[in-house]
Amino acid sequence: MNVSLILIILLVGAFATYIAGDKLASKVALFFGIAALGCSVVLLNHFNLGENISFLSQWINQPHVSFSLNADGLSMAMVLLTAALTPIIIFTSFGTEHKNAKAFYALILFMSFAMVGTFLAADGLLYYIFWELSLIPIYFIALIWGNGDAEERKKAVVKFFIYTLAGSLFMLVAFIYLYQKAGSFLIEDLYKLNLSATEQLWIFLAFFLAYAIKIPIIPFHTWQANVYQKAPAVGTMLLSGIMLKMGLYSVIRWQLPIAPLAAKEYMNIFIALGIAGVIYGSIVALRQKDLKKLLAYSSLAHVGLIAAGTYTLTIDGLRGAVLQMIAHGFVVVGLFFVSEIIYRRYATGTIAEMGGIRTQSPKFASMFMILVLASVALPTTFNFVGEFTVLYSLSQINVWFAILGGTTIILGAYYMLKMYQQVMLGETNTKAFADVSLNEGLALVLIIALLFFFGLYPKPITDLITPSLENIIKVINRA
């Protein structure tokens, strides 16, 4: 039994969903999503027992490319995140009608497939293929099923597509160069390379461009807010919940260990960039008029902090970053789902048109509040664990980094509470607002429960990721 099974399930699921037809599509997709989750849990069990669940097979002879899937703790954690979020995301979409549902759900599973592949791939070219593959479904999801004016949407989505694709091409160039040097795309061969400082710098920058656009780190973030706003809720969740993490994961897995000298040399610059993202994103979020855009900028702020954590090159920074990635994945999916719930009832994303919802739907208000609190990293939520660890690692580098990065605690509270106040509180709204339905409530409760469970007891995840992160630190310090 090995990890390729998850990929197979998801791919087969995508086809099965397409064949199942519009009526059954959502249920079939949910079934395969849960199957993938179950499979990954079983695999996790095998992994924890010390079995080898990696998969390696020769694929192309010339150039030397292998179909290599390597599952270590880090990959498993990310796969689990994807596998857990996919069914939740599919489940959240149950309240909304989608035209041509079979294609829609098939694309979701296909995207999940590509992202799991990205997290597992241990061969540079294979990784690159999965990386680009994940872009295709989200492009169609955002373009076809998105909200708002079609022309505007097209502009935003095409910008996103070309922008990320262009960034990734630099990564491909870097991989080709590395292949010239190492004679293989396999990650362990790339780890063994001893490149000169200049080479490392160029490779680092090439990777950085690809990841900075995907994550996004300022100033490469301009695609984000518009796409988040225009994409359907499911697309936004996939993008913010999992796809952003692809970039962050790749920083840890590929960028830092392959070009450690450059990473060490210019560490401060990249940490500063991440922290600038924190402050900038938070401040920009303050004046957003659209709920989804506001959440997009809050996402920018959070991933900025995560990125800063990864570039500290310390075990705390990496661990905190991974924890925060997972936590942020859940919270952001929850928050975008909340915005979708409001959208279903009011058919608008404009904050000014909301307000006074709390009296009408107390359950929804409470769950929204909890998600807001989790997003501002209240202790006992999972986000706090991650944020604390990341900020701690930053304080080890320089206390000012921690102070500036820590402004997220203040500014985050400011914009989130301001948003909550404007959306939920105040005089009772004249428009009716039905409280959450069973399906909606279930999805939200699931997310909240996970956040609190891991907030109080993050040990399982910490234990899972720590050995592999320590290995990566070892690789980084090899020179």
């Binding site: 075990i315 604390f388 206390v399 402004t407 509270a413």
Partner: protein, 627 residues
Amino acid sequence: MDTSLTLLLLLAPFIGFLFNVFFGKSIGKSASGILGTLTVATSFATSVYFFMQISQTHQAIQIQLFDWIQISNFKVDFGFLLDQLSILWLLFVTGIGSLIHLYSISYMHDDENMHKFFAYLNLFIFFMITLVIGSNLLVLFIGWEGVGLCSYLLIGFWHKNQDFNDAAKKAFIMNRIGDLGLLIGIFIIGSMFSTLDYATLKTAITGTTNLNITWISIAAFALFIGACGKSAQIPLYTWLPDAMAGPTPVSALIHAATMVTAGIFMITRLNYLFDLAPDVQNIIAIVGAVTSLVAATIALVQTDIKKVLAYSTVSQLGLMFLALGLGAYEVAVFHVITHAFFKACLFLGSGSVIHALHGEQDMRKMGGLKKVMGITFFTFLISSLAISGIPPFSGFFSKDEILMVAFEHNKVLWIIASLASLMTAFYMFRLLYLTFFNEFRGTAEQKSHLHESPSLITFPLIVLAILATIGGLISLPTNSWLNEYLAPLFAKASHEAHHFGTTEYALMAVAVLGGLIGIGIAYAKYIKQNIVPEEDSQITGFAKVLYNKYYVDEIYDAIFVQSINSLSKFFNQYVETTLSSLVFGLGKVTNELGFQGKKIQNGSIGRYLFAFVLGICAIITYLFLAQ
């Protein structure tokens, strides 16, 4: 046994919270209130048990539940520490908490969301207990943020009013500024000592000699900022008066008796750390003294009954910080306790008044309530005497000790503190006279409804008034039970008992005299001359500055809030668009290049031929001539 009891202590209010959240609406208002009260009372009973136990054994109880956060050089576990300090805090948190729960059953009975109110109150008690009994700084931080959250929820309890929501938001954000400071302090401590656990930390700090004092000072300062946020000291005090937007029991519980003392708790907890940073201690003392004076001056002219009490709280907290800064931790703790009694009593009394007047909070529209609200008046009087430092009430002892410590260390601080106490006496009696004496100034309709509050409200008042009277007994000047009880906590030998000489008696006399002068002025002004404060528009001169709280809110707004907002506007309007157009610009350049390139491919054979010839020339030159 200890573990399960601790969990009972901790989780009882939490269960009350969960129950009230999920079933509160269906079981009815009274039931949900009684349930809420009972859970807190359970905690109180457990606390009493622990108190008895520790009085005999003098042994702190340590409990480890499970690992929580893993950091490279240390791990933080979910553990609890029940020692003298935490049990003392538990006693009055849960004790006063139970009383206030009881009070709220009656007070909040007309509110449709009463079950929610009790849920939040229970949650608050839960977090406060977590804060107090946590065995390390991070568990303290859970409680620290948690009480801030409950404070937010309760201030904004009437969430239809956006002003209240603003106040709630402000409280949360200002607290978070402090929280950042606390976190930074935690980071520094963590990296210096590789532990956040109090016990290990104490051995690490007291056991080592060559510590890096600079970093310890920075850590202490950062922690102090955290304390400033939570305990409403300059410059982070402005949220507390606004927090009076919440229901009055909340003001009594959270914003007077318990949560705002968390900063003092934390500093007392880490006294060994602060002892090593004398510079920071000086800052604390100065900030405390200045806060007490500034808040007292503002309180002089306020007309909202709760605002007066709020500024009075800030002022008293300032006095406690003064004591902390002077290293007299047990004195600060003493004042925390007596203050909790009389201030809770005052707030609840004001709540009783407001309840009787159906929500009226302006003292200019009160008066003459002595006749109808006898019990409220009497308890209020006792508490006012206590806060003014008149013997033999509790406030006299605690305040006197602070003044004495201040006199020993620095005469200027003593003068400031004495001035603040004098003002305290004045504004408290101003409040008392305006509210309870003379004739009623409200509407006739209000007058007809005037009544003494029901026994559920008066009972807590009586209990608290008794405590406010006798609370001073726990630390008499010559024979202090409290000092002995707390002695194991402090690194330094406990503050030596004052051997009473003439100086001490003179100081005492001065303090009492000051209190009496304040009362006298108030009497002269508001009873003899029967002055009623002017309407808002008629206030002029310095009084206007005071009435507007030195315009601090406006200044903060202009400096911080507005600048962040305009920065946000700038980012949104210019930076975002610039960055966006840069990306689009890249696309446009490519597009333009394409268009230009298209012109080369214009189909004219003549030009192709030219290009052809020139190309051949170039190739030949490159191949044969360019060696």
